[in-house]
């Protein structure tokens, strides 16, 4: 039962120990960070047994009960997010053991990496508004510093834009938390939900609007997306993999799920807002990604498009809508991390990521092209890889709720996605090779990518009732649960 605090504690311990003892030794700090992340994965797997026996775990810090103290909670919905997060993080850490060798002060990278991971884990286990805000800030500030890590010219400008826009988002969330404290006098989510049914409707609309704007700025939905292409395309590759695969979903999409389905249950109109934002970012991301010069910028715009799919599915609602949102989150995290690690492997050997300078990678680096192709086909929605299943479920959900136009737009955007990925494959991987003496990548860079691609392949094929049973419980939380029920016990 006290296993619930272990993810946060282990990553904080790793950050502080590396800072104190091993700041000068690059090899030891990288291996220490990797071993702490594997320990966290083991503790989360052990935690899963408790969650599926008892339904949910609620833990009071220091022994103080709910209206007075701070509480932590893990239920099947947040367990799905925890498992995906802690599965991808050791893989990224393994990749960066050999990628970060060319940076001079790479032990600082592992300190910041551990802090980002601690913050992301903390958001998923907390049941208190201000707790969510503090962990959000820990991970956000560490990611602002990580984007500017290489100190090249363009990275500094991208980090400046990202910092200012991220600060505005955090300020909106903080003002909303202040309004909640002023009106109801409590900061606990369960307590607020039971008191909020008696409040004035206009005040609740204002708080809901501030929350959606703040979290949509962290998720990069359509009118709030301006920081994403620069920050994700110019950061070092493991940092891009964390940001685009995990960060925008856990700091932005998970709180939006909680707000729309569990907390503000008296406003069914909030689903139309999510549908509108999701539709706009889907179309915009796909159209902007067609004609880019740089590989990583294409992947960044494609992230905006796929996050639009998730928001659209959340807005449609019903059993199939919620199932599609969760499944699309899981498969897209795996695929997008694989794609960004792949571009890091290409950059490690060639030194550049512009399309015009890379030709004919298939002859010299067969394993890199194989994993890259699997990643691209997976995001585009080709069977039997992962995202095909989630896109089919989203289209079924749209048809069942009589939104035929939206289903048609989903299919068109999917075809456009396949189009620009095929263009990338034709130009980079399968073209004629020029004179170059580049060899295949080493073991430490290849094995994480191979592991991820095997997992995507298998999880697409073994889409069997067993996995569906576990996700079933998570979807039931989104449909039927509201925090009101905790206070009744």
């Amino acid at each position: 039962m006290s296993l619930i605090v272990f993810p946060v504690i282990l990553y904080l311990l790793s950050a502080f120990l590396i800072a104190l003892l091993w700041k000068k030794y690059k090899k030891i700090s990288s291996i220490a960070c990797f071993s702490f992340s594997v320990l966290t994965l083991i503790s989360v797997i052990l935690l899963g047994r408790y969650v599926f026996e008892n339904g949910k775990i609620i833990y009071f810090i220091g022994g103080w009960e709910i209206p007075i103290g701070i509480a932590l909670m893990v239920d099947p919905l947040s367990f799905v997010f925890l498992l995906v997060l802690n599965f991808i993080l050791p893989i990224i850490c393994w990749f960066s053991i050999s990628y970060m060798e060319k940076y001079v002060k790479s032990s600082y990278f592992y300190i910041l990496f551990s802090l980002v991971s601690a913050g992301l884990n903390g958001i998923l286990i907390s049941m208190d508004f201000f707790n969510i805000y503090v962990f959000l800030e820990i991970s956000s500030i560490s990611s602002y510093i990580l984007v500017a890590f290489g100190l090249k010219t363009e990275q500094l400008e991208a980090s400046l834009k990202y910092t200012i826009l991220g600060f505005i988002g955090s300020t909106f969330i903080l003002v909303a938390i202040g309004l909640i404290l002023g009106k109801t006098g409590t900061l606990n989510i369960a307590d607020f939900t039971s008191v909020a049914v008696e409040m004035n409707k206009i005040q609740l609309w204002f708080i809901l609007g501030l929350f959606i704007s703040g979290f949509a700025l962290k998720t990069a939905l359509f009118p709030f997306h301006f920081w994403l292409p620069d920050a994700h395309s110019l950061a070092p590759s493991p940092v891009s993999a964390i940001l685009s695969g995990l960060f925008i979903k856990i700091t932005g999409f998970y709180p939006l799920i909680r707000i729309v389905t569990n907390i503000f249950i008296m406003f069914p109109e909030s689903k139309f807002i999510m549908m509108a934002l999701g539709l706009a970012s889907m179309i915009f991301g796909a159209l902007m990604a067609i004609d880019q010069i740089d590989i990583k910028r294409t992947y960044a715009y494609s992230s905006i498009s796929q996050i639009g799919y998730c928001a659209l599915a959340l807005g449609i609602g019903g059993y199939y809508g919620y199932l599609g949102a969760i499944l699309h989150f899981v498969f897209h995290s795996l695929s997008k991390s694989l794609l960004f690690l792949n571009s890091g492997a290409i950059e490690y050997k060639y030194g550049t990521t512009k399309i015009d300078d890379l030709k004919g990678l298939n002859d010299k680096m067969p394993y890199t092209t194989a994993t890259g192709s699997i990643g691209m086909f997976s995001v585009a929605g080709v069977p039997p890889f992962g995202c095909f299943w989630s896109k089919i479920i989203i289209i079924i959900a749209a048809v069942k709720s009589h939104f035929y136009g939206i289903a048609f737009i989903c299919v068109i955007v999917s075809i456009i996605t396949l189009g620009y990925f095929l263009k990338l494959q034709r130009k980079i991987f399968y073209s004629k090779v020029e004179n170059s003496e580049v060899n295949e990548n080493g073991f430490n860079i290849l094995m994480p990518m191979v592991l991820l691609s095997i997992f995507i392949f298998l999880s697409g094929i073994i889409f069997s009732p067993n996995i569906k049973f576990y996700v079933d419980k998570a979807v039931e939380i989104m449909e039927n649960f509201s925090y009101f029920q905790i206070m009744e016990k």
Partner: protein, 116 residues
Amino acid sequence: MIVYIAISIMFFVGIYGMMVKKNIIKMIIGVNIIGYAVNLFFIVIGYKNGGIPPILISGMGIKEFVEKAVNPLPQALVLTSIVIDLSIICFLASLSIRIYEKYGTFDLEKIRRLKG
């Protein structure tokens, strides 16, 4: 009531400084002012008319203390928020030094090499 109007005027002054000014240093000062306005808003929420500071002096009963004292919970939240804003300003200041080294200017209209 007047305090809330003053807080919103300070917030808009900070937004004006952040959006309109062309120097990086003036933009950072705008960001700072927004942080001050939000912290002040938090403290004003917990105020009670004619209240005493929430410190228990020996010789005062508990019931009378709870009725008269100002709410201490927002004050603890403001401490955390001040430290978070401090670290963002510190990072932005050192970032602007590095930008001056690479771009040669503090003018925001010339720091625009990324397009599309």
